[in-house]
């Protein structure tokens, strides 16, 4: 995902709400918000009004406009509302994003170089691979909490987990126009399992100083608790308080899916005639995945019924 700035999110939010903020002074905008949206933003007591806002602290003080900046009330209310939306979507990457003749050249050249053969394209067609793109929240919790967002991508046809970032802005909403979609070999549950295995693996390799510190603190508090109960005979209370302490102070990582999208990414299929040096000819079907820049033999791909 590209770098995200607060103004980008705010203006995109207003655009999607079909509102157009007007810049009344340099750096100060105003937009008329109706009752319904205002209630969504500020709770049921709120009423529609003209919202004047700015991203600059000085301008906010000078003109009394609402400040939309890191941590401000307004950015929080907007983010909260946005986050309640769209837990699931689907989109496809149009094949037109790619320059097919270049791909064709690349495929034939690469195969030719590998086997020292000559390769000719007989036919070509287009197929889409289905992916599950997850927005995952990873929270590191002790007495404090820090959240990270990770966006792993799982190819549902191959079950492979890909960790590169996808050019989301190039995608179009909905299913692809073509019905040629690779058959899923991985269930959603399997995909999710591989996602959380991957994330668990990642967090276990991360710097765990925070957890070590929390454990030290927990140990210290636990010994104090033990000392307190030296004089008490109430075993049940001691156990209760110990449980409460562990629940409160032990370090944990919480992994949670926030939202997911089913993505369709084109796969270029080529039926090729390969002529080896000894004159032997063979026909092969190759799939080229432009996202991972990989070639695959047809045996692994089947068309959907």
């Amino acid at each position: 995902m590209r770098d995200i700035s607060i103004p980008d999110v705010v203006f995109e939010f207003f655009r999607l709400c079909k509102l157009e903020p007007l810049e009344i002074r340099k750096g100060v905008w105003q937009v008329q918000i109706d009752d319904v949206l205002m209630k969504e933003l500020d709770g049921w007591r709120a009423k529609g009004r003209l919202l004047q806002f700015t991203f600059d602290k000085k301008l906010a003080e000078t003109y009394g406009a609402e400040l939309i900046g890191p941590g401000s009330y307004r950015i929080n209310s907007i983010l909260e509302l946005i986050r309640k939306q769209a837990t699931l979507s689907h989109a496809y990457l149009p094949h037109t994003v790619f320059h097919e003749p270049s791909i064709r050249r690349k495929v034939t050249q690469r195969l030719g170089d590998e086997r020292a053969s000559k390769v000719y394209v007989l036919t070509n067609s287009l197929l889409y691979d289905e992916y599950l793109w997850m927005v995952m929240s990873i929270s590191f919790v002790t007495h404090q909490k820090e959240e990270q967002i990770q966006t792993p991508l799982v190819n549902l046809a191959s079950g492979k987990l890909l960790s590169f970032s996808i050019p989301t802005h190039l995608f179009c909403s909905g299913r692809p126009p073509s019905e040629n979609i690779s058959r899923r070999k991985t269930t959603y549950k399997q995909a999710y399992t591989s996602v959380y295995h991957h994330l668990t693996q990642e967090v276990s390799l991360m710097d765990s100083t925070w957890a070590a510190e929390a454990l030290d603190r927990l140990q210290e508090e636990r010994s104090k608790l033990e000392a307190y109960y030296e004089d008490h005979l109430d075993e049940q209370k001691r156990a209760e308080k110990t449980r409460e302490l562990i629940k409160r102070a032990s370090p944990k990582v919480q992994i949670r899916a926030i939202r997911g999208a089913v993505l369709y990414i084109p796969l270029f299929q080529y039926r090729l005639m390969e002529v080896l040096k000894n004159g032997q000819e063979s026909i092969r079907t190759i799939y080229y995945d432009p996202v991972s820049n990989s070639l695959e033999e047809a045996a692994t791909k089947t068309r959907p019924d």
Partner: protein
């Protein structure tokens, strides 16, 4: 406009959900299943949202997460606009306190600031910070019943936290942030329900009520399941170091070790600590006490204006007769039965109307035959047409052109004052204990908006704040200085930007003059630091007996000189207590 552009397709993912756990050497990994199950069920139902909204939501996820990395309080930026609107200026000591509670004390602290330094604001700020960081959802706030409404209002106005006020047993489970009276909560069937709920945060106001470990309140709070806990009290220690031990053990059992070890390490006698420095170190890990005069907060001045009112000969005569009646009757009664007489003696300094009502009540309750002196006093009271104190009040009012709060102890006096002032052309409002919470709030609002005078009885002195007003008239003086302090404390606290003028109406040659001498000249209570007064009273165990001790002096002595002499002695005892407190212990925080 409809909200069709907001593509809500599924219920928001629950915070408390089914998960599986994986134990790694240093931490546990909790993997939520239910949020994913919801997503899959949406896929099956083909409930897809548009890609644009989805991308925006994913960007919002990234932005929200990035805000949690701030090492400063995020609530300050969040609340900046709101505070500007409602006129809240956070003081540096409040911000520092919130930071310490967050980063050093991990959400478990006793906030023990002196009265008026804004403990509620500190607690609200901490609560909001935890809420914004997603660490607190279920909160219970336990307060004295009289403060429930104030908490509700402060949380909403200053922190945009919409809470519920507990009214039925169903509320415990239903509301995420609930304010309840501790006395209600500790009773069944409530207590059993509450102890089953795992709270993220518990806030206990006036926590000194939990100092005794054998009380039902202590046991109840000790049984609550809590992740973070804030205890608010201005008087963390009163009489005994054990009370301090109990309070801290309730918050963090073991912080001071077992009671045996605490006693041997830190207790010389119940009021004197051993190793105070070490104890101080341990306390500072769980307790924060900000004091006035430490350079953290600049308070405005209190300017005291005693106004001596001379009674007319008729009023004077009547005053003497009532006093004589009180002395006569008290000699026949036991100590426990003299309360109505104390009231009568105090009322006679306020208004004859109030005195008349009490006498009427005494006559109604008297066994047959009706004491002749009561009847004759009543008929004489009915003859009095003048009230010198009210005349003086009217005269004083002509010199004040701003909002004024007039305090009186008695409802009858309150009504009479309102009648007189309304007649003189002032807009007045009445404020007393019989008003419902909503009406109290409405009265406060109306006072702020339109009326010039608020006439309040003692019960009105508790609970609400009137910082927008800076003039207080004490129409009569309560005999207990704490009650007087509470009256002044309504206006002289954080948020007051002007000097506070206190006008005390004192009737000449009456007990009131002696009271004023004791409070103002002898112990100088008007200049005293707020938290100091209650500590001294508790130290001298005078909190409840102050009035009866004074009454005893007045009953025993007839001559003004001898009363003055006794009051001097009494005052010296008070000042001695003040010295002792300053020199002792309680400099532990």
């Amino acid at each position: 406009m409809d909200l069709s552009y907001l593509p809500i397709t599924g219920s928001p993912v629950s915070q408390r959900e089914a998960h599986q756990e994986l134990q790694l050497p240093q931490f546990t990994v909790e993997i939520s299943q239910s949020s994913f199950t919801q997503i899959v069920s949406q896929i099956r139902k083909k409930q897809f949202d548009t890609w644009d909204w989805f991308l925006l939501a994913a960007q919002a996820d990234h932005l929200s997460a990035s805000q949690q990395h701030f090492s400063e309080l995020i609530a300050l930026d969040y609340l900046a606009d709101r505070w500007r609107q409602v006129g809240v200026i956070p003081y540096p000591h409040q911000i520092k306190t919130a930071e310490r509670v967050m980063y050093e004390m991990h959400g478990q602290a006793i906030l023990a600031d002196e009265v008026g330094l804004g403990k509620t604001i500190e607690a609200g700020l901490i609560l909001k910070e935890y809420m914004l960081r997603g660490l607190v959802r279920k909160t219970l706030i336990l307060t004295p019943a009289s403060l429930v409404w104030q908490w509700y209002q402060e949380l909403y106005e200053k922190f945009n936290i919409i809470s519920g006020i507990q009214r039925s047993k169903w509320d415990w489970e239903y509301a995420d942030t609930l304010i309840a009276s501790l006395d209600t909560a500790k009773r069944e069937p409530h207590a059993a329900l509450i102890t089953e709920i795992p709270y993220d945060m518990i806030i206990i106001d006036e926590a000194h009520k939990l100092k005794n470990s054998s009380t039902a309140s202590f046991k109840f709070v000790n049984s609550l399941q809590k992740k973070y806990c804030l205890m608010l009290t201005a008087t963390p220690i009163q009489n005994d170091l054990k009370e301090l031990y109990n309070l801290i053990s309730l918050l963090k059992p073991g912080q001071l070790g077992s009671y045996r070890s605490f006693k041997s390490r830190f207790v010389q006698d119940k009021r004197t600590p051993k190793n105070p420095q070490e104890l101080k170190g341990l306390l500072s890990k769980v307790m924060i006490r900000n004091k006035r005069g430490e350079g953290t907060v600049q308070f405005t001045k209190r300017v005291v204006h005693p106004i001596i009112v001379s009674l007319t000969p008729t009023e004077k005569e009547l005053y003497q007769r009532v006093t004589h009646f009180v002395k006569q009757s008290s000699s026949k009664k036991s100590r426990t039965n003299i309360l109505p007489l104390i009231t009568l003696q105090r009322e006679v300094c306020s208004s004859f109307l109030a005195t008349g009502l009490t006498l009427q009540k005494m006559m109604d309750n008297a066994e047959e035959p009706v004491p002749p002196n009561i009847a004759s006093l009543l008929s004489e009271l009915a003859q009095v047409k003048q009230n010198s104190k009210c005349d003086a009040l009217e005269k004083l009012m002509t010199q004040l052109d701003d909002k004024v709060i007039i305090f009186t102890e008695y409802k009858a006096s309150q009504e009479y004052i309102r009648y007189r002032l309304e007649r003189a052309g002032y807009t007045t409002l009445g404020f007393d204990g019989t008003l419902s919470r909503g009406k109290k709030e409405w009265t406060r609002y109306m006072f702020q908006r339109s009326a010039q005078v608020l006439v309040s009885t003692e019960s009105g002195g508790e609970g609400l704040n009137f910082q927008f007003c800076n003039q207080v008239i004490n129409f009569d003086l309560p005999w207990n200085p704490m009650r007087l302090e509470q009256r002044i404390g309504r206006v002289h606290r954080l948020g007051q930007t002007r000097d506070v003028h206190i006008y005390n109406l004192i009737t000449k040659d009456t007990i009131e003059e002696h009271i004023m001498y004791l409070l103002h000249q002898k112990i100088n209570m008007f200049e005293m630091i707020i938290g100091e007064l209650d500590a001294i009273l508790l130290h001298l165990k005078l909190n409840r007996s102050f009035e009866s001790e004074l009454m005893e002096i007045f009953l025993k002595h007839d001559q003004a000189e001898s009363i003055r002499k006794e009051l001097d002695l009494f005052g010296s005892r008070f000042l001695q207590g003040q010295k002792e407190i300053k020199a002792s212990t309680w400099d532990l925080f």
